[in-house]
């Protein structure tokens, strides 16, 4: 199945390339597929593109003043209508529009939404309908690409990516006289010393997958099998239980503050790191501009996710670009999608803090923003959260059960057994 698809994709790639070579000789219909900007004669119409880029940063400005004009210049018949939607409402707006068949042509979707939208049947299966899909698939980071795979078909391509690395307060560590922890064991061993010096060893603002999966994976645990069909034997495996037990023990010993169990009145991780209340946190690249403007005097230091038996493995975040199956202008939309994944567009967005997904740009990243370095390194091993429409629900159950274990209502083993049972039932609905 997979081989067949790869084969046709490879075949399909060669045809447009051949056509592009003789595009002067009347390559009409096929020429749009011949990728990016130059061979685009005959494309016309409007491409509607919904996204939730931040209006306040340079993101929207770069999209509207740099990327879209460049694309429209190369494709004179095409107009791109970019719609900025507040991030918190984009999901609701997408679902409502899906029910009313009013979706735009392209959406910059949170990586977690792709399997859900694919399952609703509103996404174009790119790996079958995009002739040069395989080309793009090979150019992007595999961890980011994997977020688009649903039931053997890719429904999108990654657009930007990120991950969480360890951020630490060097003064807090120095005050306690401890080194920057490189392994989980070191962090655990340093925790009492840090507490004596007035700092929590680690802080996080919840116990959802985004928060706890780096620990579970780094311990060698997992949440489901590779095909995301079953959770039993994974989320409640010995390694997963040991990872969560470590977090529970740290919390109960007072080495992790109560915001991890949902105390929304507690000190935020970003503030606590600056004040030295928190020695380490895990967070993403967006924190750098925030710290720069909020706490210009604070030196934000990063290190890799502390390693365990499974290595140093963090969680992939970011957004994918998807095309809707109701799009009336798929050719033009496809052309814009390709352009968004071009080096030009990816580099332009990189300057605003969005990490590119093209592995070819890896070496240039630190020249654009030197803080990208540790994230690029971490991304080499980072994994996506399970790609399934059931993830939202499983994630909620996971957080509830881990928090119950932290409060001492239930043992870690029982909590994770319960997650496994409930997750199995949810996953079975989609198999």
């Amino acid at each position: 199945m997979k081989h067949w698809k790869a084969g046709t994709a490879a075949l399909a790639v060669t045809i447009p390339l051949a056509l592009a070579g003789c595009s002067g000789a009347g390559g009409t219909d096929e020429s749009p597929a011949a990728s990016s900007s130059d061979a685009s004669a005959g494309l016309s119409g409007t491409v509607t593109y919904w996204h939730a880029y931040s209006e306040d940063s340079q993101e929207v400005a770069t999209l509207e003043d740099v990327i879209i004009p460049a694309f429209e210049k190369a494709n004179p018949g095409v107009t791109v209508d970019a719609v900025t939607v507040p991030y918190d409402e984009l999901h609701q707006k997408l679902i409502t529009a899906a029910a009313g068949e009013q979706l735009p042509d392209l959406v910059r979707a949170d990586i977690g939404w792709v399997p859900e939208l694919a399952n609703l049947g509103v996404l174009e299966p790119l790996s079958t309908s995009m002739s040069d899909f395989q080309d793009y698939a090979e150019q992007v980071y595999p961890g980011a690409l994997a977020t688009n795979l649903w039931k053997g078909t890719y429904y999108g391509l990654p657009l930007d990516t990120n991950t969480r690395v360890m951020m630490y307060n060097a003064d807090a560590l120095a005050k306690a006289g401890v080194e920057v922890p490189t392994t989980i064991d070191e962090l655990v061993a340093d925790a009492p010393t840090l507490k004596a010096a007035g700092s929590y060893a680690f802080a996080d603002n919840g116990a959802s997958g985004w928060n706890v999966l780096p620990w579970i994976w780094s311990y060698g645990g997992s949440i489901t099998d590779d095909d995301v069909t079953v959770a039993s034997g994974h989320i409640n495996s010995d390694a997963s239980v040991a990872a969560v037990q470590m977090l529970v023990d740290m919390y109960q010993a007072g080495y992790i503050p109560s915001i991890i169990v949902g105390d929304s009145g507690g000190l935020a991780t970003s503030d606590g790191l600056v004040s030295g209340d928190y020695a380490t946190i895990l967070d993403g690249p967006w924190m750098f501009p925030i710290y720069q403007s909020q706490y210009p005097d604070f030196e934000l230091n990063t290190a890799q996710m502390p390693a365990g038996d499974g290595g140093s493995i963090s969680v992939v975040g970011g957004e994918d670009i998807v095309m809707t199956s109701t799009s009336q202008n798929k050719e033009a939309a496809m052309a814009f999608l390709r352009y968004l994944l071009s080096e030009d567009a990816q580099l332009a967005m990189a300057k605003t803090g969005q990490m590119p997904v093209l592995s070819s740009l890896t070496d240039q990243l630190t020249a654009i923003n030197d803080y990208f370095g540790p994230f690029v390194e971490q991304l080499a091993t980072a994994k996506p959260r399970p790609v399934t429409p059931a993830w939202n629900e499983i994630n909620t159950i996971l957080q509830d059960q881990i928090q119950s274990a932290m409060r001492g209502d239930v043992s870690v083993k029982d909590a994770l057994d319960s997650v496994a049972t409930q997750a199995d039932a949810l996953l079975a609905q989609y198999s």
Binding site: A99, S258, D263, S264, G265, N392
Partner: protein, 318 residues
């Protein structure tokens, strides 16, 4: 010709008939006017609210797949049966009931008190009217954030009151970590934001009290309490019951403050019906279950308000 053939008794009958016809035609005219008055508003209301509501009821009886073209099997009352056995939903109802029981009396009493103080002549009363109304117009996002700070787990305002002033607790309270302390913070926010709202309605209602009556009562030497009891209160009784019912319904439908302050957490401890409905429908895409949850809420609130309505207004005709 008919006149000549009429007997006197027939003439009397005709006159009586004419009267009846006149009054029945007046009744008909009134009925027609009633319909014409209601028609434009009700048409909009029926189209925009009732019609979608009926569709939502239908959704709650299916396993709805959202996207057209996919089959949505009918499941009867299965979603309702599930909801009534769902411990999280039942807890959310209890939370909303507690929220209502806390916020409604406070908003009514304080709102009424402020309205009475600001009703009579008082230099600067417009300023106070504006100041007390400010919470109503402030954005939920802003005030929810603020209340999270006020009830923060460390040395926050709320903790300094509880620990240092009232000595209710020996150490700082992590308000949002437990169900009832979190609900208390949410309820205090709701009360604080709602007082100006009920004050406004009471202010409008109090204008119906004739000044002469108040002055006459004052001349009779009636104290403030008695004046309020015998002059003002009867005039605003209807407004009082309206405010009561609206607040009651609003209390059970509490949503934004919970969503912004705790999101229903930790571990569903502060879930209220609408946050739970929102989670089921828009996060988990189970619209059918979300609809069932919201209609059980609607049914409950409706039954309770009907009871109240009947109770408070039983002496008056509608």
């Amino acid at each position: 010709m008919t006149v000549t053939s009429q007997t006197p008794s027939a003439a009397v009958r005709a006159a009586a008939e004419g009267w009846r016809r006149a009054s029945s035609s007046r009744a008909r005219r009134t009925a027609l006017a009633g319909w014409l008055f209601v028609l434009p508003g009700f048409a909009v209301y029926g189209l925009v609210m009732l019609y979608p509501a009926v569709q939502t009821v239908l959704l709650s009886l299916q396993d709805w797949t959202i996207v057209p073209g996919q089959e949505s099997p009918w499941v009867g009352l299965a979603n309702y049966a599930e909801a009534l056995q769902d411990p999280v939903f039942l807890r959310s109802l209890v939370n909303a009931a507690a929220y209502t029981a806390f916020t409604v009396p406070l908003q009514v009493v304080i709102g009424l008190f402020l309205a009475v103080l600001l009703d009579g002549y008082l230099p600067g009363r417009v300023l106070f009217r504006v100041l007390f109304y400010l919470p109503v117009v402030s954005s939920w996002v802003v005030v929810s954030l603020l209340f999270r700070y006020i009830f923060a787990s460390d040395d926050s305002l709320a903790n300094s009151v509880v620990v240092n002033l009232l000595h209710l607790s020996g150490s700082n309270v992590a308000w949002f970590q437990q169900r009832w302390t979190a609900m208390l913070a949410i309820a205090l926010l709701g009360t604080w934001k709602g007082i100006g709202w009920s004050m406004l309605i009471f202010l409008a209602a109090l204008t119906a009290v004739p000044v002469e009556l108040k002055e006459a009562a004052a001349l009779d030497g009636a104290g403030a309490v008695r004046r309020f009891r015998y002059v003002s209160l009867p005039a605003i009784r209807s407004a009082l019951s309206v405010v009561f019912i609206l607040l009651f319904i609003g209390g059970f439908n509490v949503f934004i403050s919970v969503q912004l302050m705790t999101g229903g957490g930790p571990s569903n401890a502060t879930q209220v019906p609408l946050t739970y409905m929102y989670q089921q429908a828009f996060d988990f895409l189970d619209f059918s279950y979300g609809s069932a949850v919201s209609f059980i809420l609607t049914g409950t609130v409706l039954a309770l308000s009907a009871l109240q309505y009947w109770w408070t207004r039983r002496r008056e005709a509608l």
